[in-house]
Symmetry: C2
Subunit: 343 residues, 2 copies
């Protein structure tokens, strides 16, 4: 089981973890933005930031650097960065000499509540997101809010969509608490760390029951079947949207679908829709895009034989995986999403 | 737990396995020699044979072909070939979309008793053998002798060294039976399939107790710490030796070391030494090579801080991992090996 540590004293936590380990060498991996958090470390591999650098060429650079440092399977990798660093650094570590131990120190909200936890690693290949990868959990994940003060608000919102998703899968009280969040206020580190603790626990419990996504783990795709289509179409048009924005729009759409198909309470659809309208504006699609969005949903990595399948809710916390959607359901829900966003 | 099927009716076994599976597509992977065993299959990826083709470029070709076929994580890969095919095809399958199910059908003795079983996958990188890889077991392995009639005798001998190794880790009766083997006689398929069943069971039991090589699995390195050094030095000189020949010489050397350090019976050293002298000739090294061999042993993937460590036997079946060797021990044993081989 993956060891999760919630603390804002990251250095002490890292020191405790590495002092108790029998590794022969520690190598840090960071990107050009997060390298400053690993300054002064003896061995540091700096990789590009952003999705275009999440490539096989970058994986090879990491393998080459590990070799140059003389790393062995008894060495330790520490990934310090956002989801790109933990995904790609995790894959490189998991495959170098058939696998080294690695620790994730997520520096963004999105990575803290999603990418860094649960063992999905990988990189983009032939233009497809996370096309190559492995299920390989970090031995430990140190989750803190200390890197968030300098995060752009758009990054905070992007991660927050996953926090809302976890609450929707588990606990209406937490869901209501989250909808009070004010992105303009300074970060309350103690409170946010508690929110992260609840949020990550939801993911951890689901992953523990289904580490390789054979079944229940699909619950974590809530908002993502539709959200990925938004993200992919925006990317194809050269105008990418932040992952969490796509997820936020996907959550509203799938909440609408949940209402249509499983009688999810309309009041909760409205509460969520209002929060997303207030915080995740600039939805870039019109009804002319529905056909392309449907095609992308049919080609999702988790789809099967061209059917659109997603996770829906009967109520907050009561999720149902493998719900098949008709194109008519989806276009109706997209219309209602656009209404909610005031478009 | 990996499903092992021992049969010489491979087609029926494959049909039973695939009929009971919910995959949406089957893709065969074979090399230029074994492609004939998969003729007529709708989807076949043919990769180069030999160690030089065991490269990242070949892995990419497999990923690209899987994409072109439209394979998903619900598709099934069948690796049909020697260890190169099962290692590389297994890695490609284990990482494509974070992992597809794959079945191994080993077509060489070496692959049947070693590479295809137990979950090690990978490829060579920057000139280092199996430098990148994953522990990812085939769901099923179909073990047969039906492909062996056309195997060169050198290939049979190479695989047989691993069969002897497994007997040395488990059962003196089996060890004695194996030393009767006559490589010039036609293959007795029923008997050999029984030998494979015993042999693979030894590996399977050890792997089940330690899948990721944290401890006991190192027992399977018997003969390999020294053997890998022989193999690597021969490769560096552009005159490669078959893997199993290097293992056979390594087994004798480590049996000698076992005698020197753990009082392994000298009679068994002699029996093994005679069999190896009669069947694995052409040892290409002299005492001038000892320094280079020692350096290679210190850099073995399983070595730690430059110490030479290997598995030794107190008697057949009584193995002890993590035995540290001094250079003096090793050179003494290499001298005795060369005596045994009549050099």
């Amino acid at each position: 089981m993956q060891n999760l540590i919630f603390t804002n004293d990251v250095d002490s936590a890292l020191n405790r973890l590495t002092a108790g380990s029998r590794h022969n060498m520690t190598v840090f991996i960071a990107d050009v933005n997060t390298a400053r958090f690993a300054l002064g470390k003896e061995r540091l591999i700096v990789i590009p930031d952003g999705d275009t650098g999440k490539s096989l060429a970058t994986v090879c650079r990491v393998w080459d650097s590990l070799e140059q440092f003389g790393a062995t399977r008894h060495s330790l990798v520490i990934n310090m960065g956002g989801g790109m660093v933990t995904d790609l650094g995790g894959f490189a570590a998991a495959t170098f000499k058939r696998g080294m131990r690695f620790i994730n120190v997520p520096t963004t909200l999105l990575a803290a509540v999603d990418a860094a936890v649960g063992g999905k690693t990988g990189f983009n290949y032939n233009g497809l997101k996370n096309e190559i990868g492995a299920f390989a959990p970090a031995s430990d994940v140190i989750i803190s809010t200390r890197y968030f003060d300098t995060l752009p608000v758009q990054e905070m919102k992007s991660g927050f969509a996953e926090v809302i998703k976890h609450a929707m899968l588990s606990d209406r009280g937490e869901f209501m608490r989250l909808l009070e969040h004010d992105f303009d206020a300074p970060i309350d580190h103690d409170d946010l760390l508690e929110r992260l603790r609840s949020s990550v626990q939801v993911k951890r419990d689901i992953v523990a029951r289904d580490p390789n996504e054979q079944g229940e783990r699909k619950a974590l795709n809530l908002g993502h079947t539709i959200g990925h289509a938004f993200e992919a179409l925006a990317m194809q048009r050269g105008k990418p949207v932040p992952h969490g924005y796509a997820v936020a729009w996907g959550l509203v759409t799938e909440a609408v679908l949940s209402h249509l198909i499983l009688k999810f309470p309309s009041n909760d659809v409205h509460l969520l829709g209002n929060f997303v309208r207030d915080n995740y504006r600039d939805f870039p699609f019109t009804c002319d895009d529905y056909d392309q969005l449907l095609t992308l949903m049919r080609h999702d990595k988790k789809s099967h034989d061209g059917e659109i399948s997603c996770t829906l809710l009967a109520s907050i916390g009561d999720y149902h995986i493998n719900q098949t959607l008709t194109p008519g359901d989806v276009t109706a829900a997209l219309d209602i999403l656009r209404d909610h966003l005031g478009l």
